[in-house]
């Protein structure tokens, strides 16, 4: 595995949403989670493309879930954050916190 990659903003959002949804995290649920928490509208294309890229980077894993009833037997693809993904999230958060430190003090002063 190469060194921890830094995540783009939207990639972080998606990863966090996957973590939040937990079990049964498939495309629509992840999208709805993002919309519910951030109020930001996410299109299917954006969500799935990002999940694809995250999987290519090895930060997320996916597999076909068991056949869901009433959907013509189509199986949903479920996502899970990998340990590498969790590491990448932490690293990004740490980097951000460090950058925020000085700024917070400044804003509190004014």
């Amino acid at each position: 595995m190469a060194k921890t990659k830094y995540l783009g903003e939207f990639e972080q959002t998606i990863l966090l949403a996957v973590l939040r949804v937990g079990d049964g995290a498939y495309g629509s649920a992840i999208r709805k989670e993002v919309e519910a928490c951030t109020g930001r509208k996410v299109t299917h294309g954006a969500a799935y493309i990002t999940l694809d890229r995250l999987e290519a980077k090895g930060l997320v894993e996916s597999e076909l879930g068991s056949s869901a009833p009433g959907r013509g037997g189509r199986r949903k693809r479920l996502f899970e954050v990998t340990p590498d993904g969790v590491k990448a999230l932490r690293a990004s958060r740490e980097a951000l916190s460090k950058l925020w430190q000085g700024v917070e003090e400044l804003s509190e002063e004014s």
């Binding site: 498939y26 495309g27 629509s28 999208r31 299109t43 299917h44 294309g45 954006a46 799935y48 493309i49 999940l51 694809d52 996916s62 959907r71 189509r74 199986r75 949903k76 693809r77």
Partner: protein, 890 residues
């Protein structure tokens, strides 16, 4: 939904295959869910769902593919074998994007060319989109009823008697028959008293059309029985205009005509009544055991739905059979013409009628304009391709296949097509409201005209096809040249691509031919229109104000009351300053249907055979003929003394006098009308047009309105000193000063009424005139462009000639001859084409033959002159160049 899913899966092809393999199903499912949700009315609108799907596909799909290509290049190794097919597909998409970028760069470098091409196309596509939206809204859109193809109207056979109705109801090929007839009643008590048009219908009317009401309910069978509480259903327009779109209007009572009726329902806005302008429906009250009530209501039209399995032909045969049987039983009641006329007609044809033909002709005409525009752009592209010879040669030398270069050129032309098309559609959409205003008021389904999905789709296809068509030939021609030619050619070759010139000449000839057809057609229509305008109508239309008065029969029950009312009105209005004369008539001329009756000479022996002849008739007050400026030719006017108890008299028009008595003096002769009313002719007046300037004048008899009670509604005609519109307010208040509860409606200067009768001809003439002018401008620009280009190409040759001592004028003449050759060919083809196609217009022409010599002689000559100028200017310019400069030009 399956169709939508299919389209969505096509969209998904924009994404790389690996992505699709994993996520296509999930994405499709989510899309289907969102779309179903939107269709049910929740959350986002359906079109937004589509828009996002398309945007996603374009944005992320292409981005992912580019990314994949970039990754492969960066890693410096071939992508995995499983992806090989994907790669070639990726590369196609990538090259298309590359082509588009390249094309845009090229346009940026030559903005003038791009702009000219795009605008020319915008003109063509925009005009076509406008006319197509007319065709779409009026002709193509299905009627807003359930399974509209099954609905027919019955001609000839109508609901005139119990026998007819009973037999028709039994017909096995008809699932249900409903009757309807026009009725106009005064609406009193809700705002201004006004007489409004409506339909009297059998209770099953709406059931047959399968139209659910927007509010309330439709009529029940019981409401068609006499004695039931009178009810009414409102139209959407009336509901909005007079009742403020109040949801609680159901159950309220309104005074309509002589009855107080309860509102039981409101029809939706989308419903289209069988007669335009219908604002309410009331049930026909007929004792179901005795249809004899129908006998009085001549004019009950029938509408029916075909039974399952029945066809128009089988229903037609059955209906004619019924008519034939009825005639066999009572031949004096049912005439032969009636039997022959008894047929079912698809409702669509009844409603759309003549408009269909006219609109298709207009679409054809505007299609010509598009073809001319495309020809112009093709010429532009040819010229540009010629100028880019070097660039193309370099690309070919660097290894681009011919197909690749052709594809790139086609991308350019398609892009031009799409951009021009988009501009054109935008312009068409913006000018839609203007266009609809210009349409003749009687255009069927005016309300349905809009730039909708189908119109947009057609515009898109047309733009694409246009782009491909005018790009194809130039693309192939441009890549035909061999490598040696432009690259290795530094010699001063004076010859230019002969093939290209021949093709360009062909385009010029086509343009000219198309223009000739259009210009000639426009000329014929304009001449027709002008002739119609110059017809002497027989009355002075420009100083007369008209309005309709409808004293309610409930309060004006006797002829005396009716007479007193109209005398009072004429007195009061006559006293208004600016009013020169006043009269009233049962039906205004030039405003549509005029009543007619059989007439016979009443003072000849009974057994003498008389031909079946018809005469129009009008009921008038004595002042009418004078107020309209119709002159008295012989005898006397109708007077106040011609009243109910006086001998029956009438005044005839000159056509009637000629028709009935030839050269003999008609004064004192006797006529029989309506089968039983005899009158003496006391006067002859000048002929006045009754229908439209292009319709022959029919025999007409004028009665005094008080001698023969017809209907209490009359049209007031006021001869004014000056603009009739100025006196509207004062005349109205004069009328209401006699009785404020009499509805006054249809207030119009007579001029407007007349204009309405020629509206269709005017519309077609102006539109064709516009197209003809456009064609002329585009074609001359095209010819000018080609000539300029050709002259530019031949600068060297001209320089040589001049240097060798040729006379400049000679050179110009030679150029002109060469340039006019395709023009001449085009003119000949165009005239032939015009002769063949103008017969399509013959129904619309008035006093002008479809092969009118004057038009055919003058207009092509005009076109030839314009083309000659377009040919001469560049030739002159080329010949005036300095020979040295010319020789040095490459």
């Amino acid at each position: 939904m399956r169709f939508a899913t299919g389209v969505y899966r096509l969209l998904l092809l924009a994404y790389p295959r690996s992505f699709r393999r994993r996520f296509a199903d999930s994405m499709t499912d989510t899309f289907v869910d969102d779309l179903a949700n939107a269709r049910r009315g929740g959350g986002t609108a359906a079109w937004k769902v589509w828009m996002w799907a398309i945007a996603d596909a374009v944005r992320f799909g292409t981005a992912e593919r580019l990314e994949a290509v970039r990754r492969a290049l960066r890693r410096g190794r071939a992508p995995e074998p499983g992806h090989s097919l994907e790669r070639s597909r990726d590369s196609i998409v990538a090259t298309i994007i590359q082509d588009i970028r390249y094309a845009i760069r090229g346009f940026r470098k030559a903005p003038g060319f791009a702009l000219l091409a795009a605008l020319t196309l915008a003109l063509g596509v925009g005009a076509n989109t406008s006319i197509f939206s007319l065709v779409n809204g009026v002709v193509l859109r299905p009627l807003p009823y359930e399974r509209p193809d099954e609905i027919v109207t019955l001609w000839g056979i109508d609901g005139r008697s119990k026998d007819v109705m009973m037999q028709v109801r039994e017909a096995s090929s008809l699932e249900g028959v409903a009757g309807y007839s026009y009725v106009a009643l005064g609406l009193i008590g809700v705002g201004e008293a006004e007489e409004i048009p409506g339909l009297e219908i059998t209770p099953n009317h709406f059931a047959i059309l399968s139209v659910p009401p927007a509010l309330g309910r439709i009529f029940t069978e019981e409401e068609g029985v006499p004695g039931h509480d009178p009810v009414v259903i409102l139209s959407h327009d009336l509901w909005q205009a007079r009742f403020g779109a109040d949801d609680a209007v159901v159950g309220k009572r309104i005074q309509l005509g002589s009855e107080l009726r309860t509102i039981v329902g409101v029809m939706p806005a989308a419903h289209q009544p069988l007669i335009r302008g219908t604002r309410f429906w009331i049930p026909k009250t007929v004792d179901p055991s005795d249809f004899s009530d129908y006998a009085g209501t001549a004019g009950t039209s029938l509408v029916a739905r075909l039974a399952p399995g029945a066809t128009l032909e089988s229903a037609g045969a059955e209906v004619r059979g019924i008519a034939g049987r009825l005639r066999a039983e009572s031949p004096e009641v049912y005439s032969e013409e009636w039997v022959a006329a008894s047929t079912p007609e698809p409702l669509h044809r009844t409603i759309v009628g003549d408009a269909e033909r006219i609109l298709w002709v207009l679409l054809g005409a505007v299609g010509f304009v598009l073809l001319i525009a495309c020809t112009n752009v093709a010429n532009l592209l040819l010229a540009r391709a010629g100028a880019r010879r070097h660039e193309i040669a370099v690309r070919t030398a660097l290894g681009a296949s011919r197909g690749r270069v052709v594809r790139q050129l086609l991308t350019e032309s398609t892009l031009l097509g799409l951009v021009g098309g988009a501009l054109g559609v935008g312009a068409a959409a913006l000018s839609m409201t203007l266009l609809v205003q210009w349409l003749p008021r009687e255009t069927p389904r005016l309300e349905a005209i809009a730039v909708d999905g189908r119109v947009l789709a057609v515009a898109l296809v047309v733009s694409l096809l246009a782009g491909l068509s005018f790009g194809l030939a130039p693309a192939f021609r441009a890549t035909r040249q061999t490598l040696q030619g432009p690259l290795g050619d530094s010699s001063r070759s004076a010859t230019s691509g002969r093939g290209r010139h021949r093709f360009q000449n062909g385009l010029v000839a086509t343009e000219i031919a198309l223009s000739v057809v259009l210009v000639v057609a426009a000329g014929l229509m304009l001449k027709s229109f002008w002739k119609m305008q110059s017809v002497d109508l027989g009355f002075h239309a420009d100083e007369v104000l008209t309005m309709r008065l409808s004293p309610p029969p409930s309060r004006y029950t006797s002829v005396a009351e009716f007479e007193e009312y109209y005398r009072g009105v004429q007195e009061e209005v006559g006293a208004v300053p600016g009013v020169l004369a006043v009269g009233a008539v049962s039906g205004l001329p030039m405003s549509g249907g005029q009543p007619a009756t059989l007439f016979r000479l009443a003072d000849v022996p009974e057994d003498e055979d008389q031909p079946r002849r018809y005469s129009n008739f009008q009921f008038v007050t004595p002042g009418y003929l004078r107020s309209m400026g119709i002159p008295l030719v012989a005898g006397r006017w109708l007077e106040d003394s011609d009243r109910q108890d006086a001998p029956m008299v009438g005044v005839v028009n000159q056509t009637m006098a000629r028709e009935a008595w030839g050269d003999e003096d008609p004064i004192g002769r006797r006529l029989q009308l309506f089968g039983h009313i005899d009158l003496t002719v006391v006067g002859v007046v000048g002929d006045a047009h009754q229908f439209a300037p292009n319709v022959e004048i029919r025999p007409e008899v004028y009665f005094s309105a008080t001698q023969l009670p017809w209907a209490s509604t009359l049209y007031l005609t006021v001869h004014t000193d000056g603009d009739p519109a100025d006196l509207i307010a004062s005349v109205k208040s004069a009328v209401w000063s006699v009785d404020a509860d009499v509805p006054v409606s249809r207030i119009r200067p007579m001029e407007d009424v007349v204009a309405g009768s020629v509206a269709v001809t005017r519309f077609v003439a102006l539109l064709l005139g516009g197209f003809g002018a456009l064609a002329l401008v585009l074609a001359s620009l095209g010819v000018y462009g080609v000539m300029s280009y050709v002259a530019g190409q031949r600068t060297q040759e001209i320089g040589i000639r001049l240097a060798l001592g040729a006379d400049a004028n000679q050179v110009v003449r030679a150029s002109m001859l060469r340039g006019m050759l395709p023009v001449a060919v085009g003119l000949v083809l165009g005239i032939a084409g015009a002769v063949a196609s103008t017969r399509l217009l013959s129904r619309l022409l008035f006093e002008v033959e479809a092969t009118d010599l004057a038009t055919f002689a003058v207009l092509p000559v005009l076109l030839a002159l314009v083309a000659a100028a377009a040919v001469w200017l560049p030739a002159r310019r080329a010949a005036s160049v300095d020979p040295l400069v010319a020789l040095n030009t490459e």
